[in-house]
Symmetry: C2
Subunit: 180 residues, 2 copies
């Protein structure tokens, strides 16, 4: 039951924004680091319980009367800072099912890979628009974390644009040139 690892620190970090219920925590995660992080309730609640057991988080009934409000303790903040100082794990199992299907694409029906790539492009385009919004939103908010938050959004933008460029390049290269 002792859930550990990065989820713990994602939670501790989010609580630097202020006390929150588990539910709000998940909403906040989705709205800020949702483009590169994700937490499910099945992970979140046990993690909060474990963090509280370890004294890194304290909880009490929320002033709103609804749910439990979780606060970062000084020990929790220390744990966060210790973790921040450590080099991130040079991950990772970057497994891409799309690339796997491209790699074995010769064995698929003609047009299959192209269809997958076009769907991928659609998803990327949506994601790109979301990131543009998010970028504007962060740029307009003069929070102390602004530069850091913007950096993560810019990362998403750089990678999404690169992936879009690759998609176009690949679609062009896989489509045999037809003379007019």
């Amino acid at each position: 039951m002792a859930r550990s690892s990065t989820t713990r620190y994602a939670v501790l970090g989010m609580l630097t924004l202020g006390p929150m219920t588990g539910y709000a925590l998940r909403e906040t995660i989705a709205g800020t680091i949702g483009h590169f992080w994700h937490e499910s309730f099945g992970q979140l609640y046990p993690t909060l319980a474990a963090l509280e057991r370890d004294g890194l988080v304290a909880s009490r009934a929320a002033r709103t009367g609804r749910g439990r409000e979780h606060t970062l303790t000084p020990a929790g903040y220390d744990a966060l800072r210790t973790w921040l100082a450590q080099a991130p794990a040079t991950s990772s199992s970057h497994r891409s099912e799309l690339l796997l299907k491209v790699f074995f694409g010769r064995h698929a029906e003609p047009g299959t890979v192209e269809r997958h790539l076009e769907m991928h492009r659609g998803a990327l385009t949506e994601s790109r628009a979301y990131l543009a919004d998010l970028e504007a939103q962060v740029a307009d908010d003069p929070a102390p974390d602004q530069a850091y938050w913007l950096a993560t959004v810019r990362h998403g933008i750089h990678l999404t644009d690169a992936s879009l460029a690759w998609t176009s390049e690949t679609l062009a290269s896989l489509t045999p040139e037809t003379a007019p």
Copy 2:
């Protein structure tokens, strides 16, 4: 013990290159799709056993006298083709510990995020060189799969370059400009 999912298809796909031992399978995976896929022995051998149980793979003692040679059966090839036709799972939990540390960077000691970024840049630079080699290698080999293989390498190159650009941009933005 019935391991399933994408690992199965990565294995089936790899066996289109010819019969192989489990050991060779892993080497081949590392050498071809290693930049976006990974299999551990603990996953590979049970998967091979399951695939054989299901009639998608057949095995016999290798002609070299060493190990078991696994061959794709017609049913296995059909299974691969069926899987190829399906839209790839719109993943995924793209979790980045580096980005998490950047996002919460304000709470770290000054210079910490910069240090992480520089290490990241080092890893990317290495990866970039590897991909350049791989690209040349694939470009020189007139295999029937060439265009597809090249596409996956190009993906790696696009993303690595984008990540490198982001790293530089972010390092510049986090370093306060010092007047001369």
